[in-house]
């Protein structure tokens, strides 16, 4: 320590740093956490395109090569009843023979889930140009 009267002044030692207050930090982080927990989802989405519908008059001009009817779990391909697997093999066979356009008709109590499953299946396993109608 210097005596008072000395000519040279020495700055006081800087006050000891107080620890950073953590409470506001935690508040903010908690808020962010809550926001992201509530507004994010872990569901993975996909989409299936639907062509056709009641008002697709443009496609009606060209006759389809294959007519698929969906009625409950039953499929009918060009009038022949079959289970889903046989129907898909039949569709593949028809496609090899040169069929290009297919119409999927829905009857009765078919749910959207069954319809979309069917569309997905047909699109996945064949390259038919698929239209949906009622």
């Amino acid at each position: 320590m210097r005596s008072r009267g000395s000519a040279m002044r020495i700055d006081l030692a800087a006050a000891r740093r107080r620890p950073l207050p953590l409470t506001p930090l935690i508040d903010v982080i908690f808020l962010l956490l809550l926001f992201f927990m509530l507004s994010s989802t872990f569901v993975r989405f996909a989409e299936v395109e639907v062509t056709g519908g009641a008002a697709s008059a443009g496609t009606a001009a060209e006759a389809p090569d294959v007519l698929i009817r969906l009625d409950g779990g039953d499929w009918q391909v060009n009038g022949v009843s079959a289970g889903a697997d046989e129907a898909v093999t039949e569709l593949k066979r028809l496609q090899e023979r040169g069929a290009a356009r297919a119409v999927l008709l829905v009857r009765g109590e078919v749910t959207s889930q069954e319809l979309v499953t069917a569309i997905e299946r047909i699109r996945g396993e064949t390259t038919l140009d698929l239209t949906v109608a009622r």
Partner: protein
């Protein structure tokens, strides 16, 4: 002889650093693993698919089990929904409509709605589904 337990040593303060660490980790987890979604209709049970192509979380036209149309939490109909879409985005090319239908919705009703949307001027219509892990 009565024995008194020794007075407990003064409790040390819980360290907040550990707490912040954990909360930070959770925050980062939700940031990275979750995707932010526009609010989804709560009583619509999405159709599940396995192989359809991946899509963004939808800002979609929801269709409930009874066939009621809803957008942004309010009941609507096909024509006004398409009009609203046209108004909000300057439609360059075909207008794309995303529908999120309940899986129990009768397929005939679904096709009816697709038809109505087409008539109202929608170009590409796709159905939003949730991907299930294979």
């Amino acid at each position: 002889m009565l024995r008194l337990s020794r007075p407990l040593p003064a409790r040390r303060r819980e360290s907040t650093i550990a707490l912040i660490n954990v909360v930070f980790l959770m925050l980062i987890f939700f940031l990275v693993a979750g995707t932010l979604t526009p609010p989804l209709e709560r009583d619509v049970d999405l159709i599940s698919t396995a192989t359809a192509e991946h899509a963004e979380p939808p800002d979609a036209l929801f269709v409930t089990r009874e066939g009621e149309l809803r957008a942004h939490g309010q009941a609507t109909d096909a024509a006004s929904y398409v009009d609203a879409l046209k108004a909000e985005g300057a439609a360059d090319g075909a207008l794309e409509v995303k529908m999120a239908a309940d899986r129990e919705l009768p397929a005939t009703r679904l096709i009816e709605i697709v038809g109505a949307l087409r008539q109202a001027g929608a170009g590409k219509i796709s159905i939003v589904t949730e991907r299930t892990a294979e």
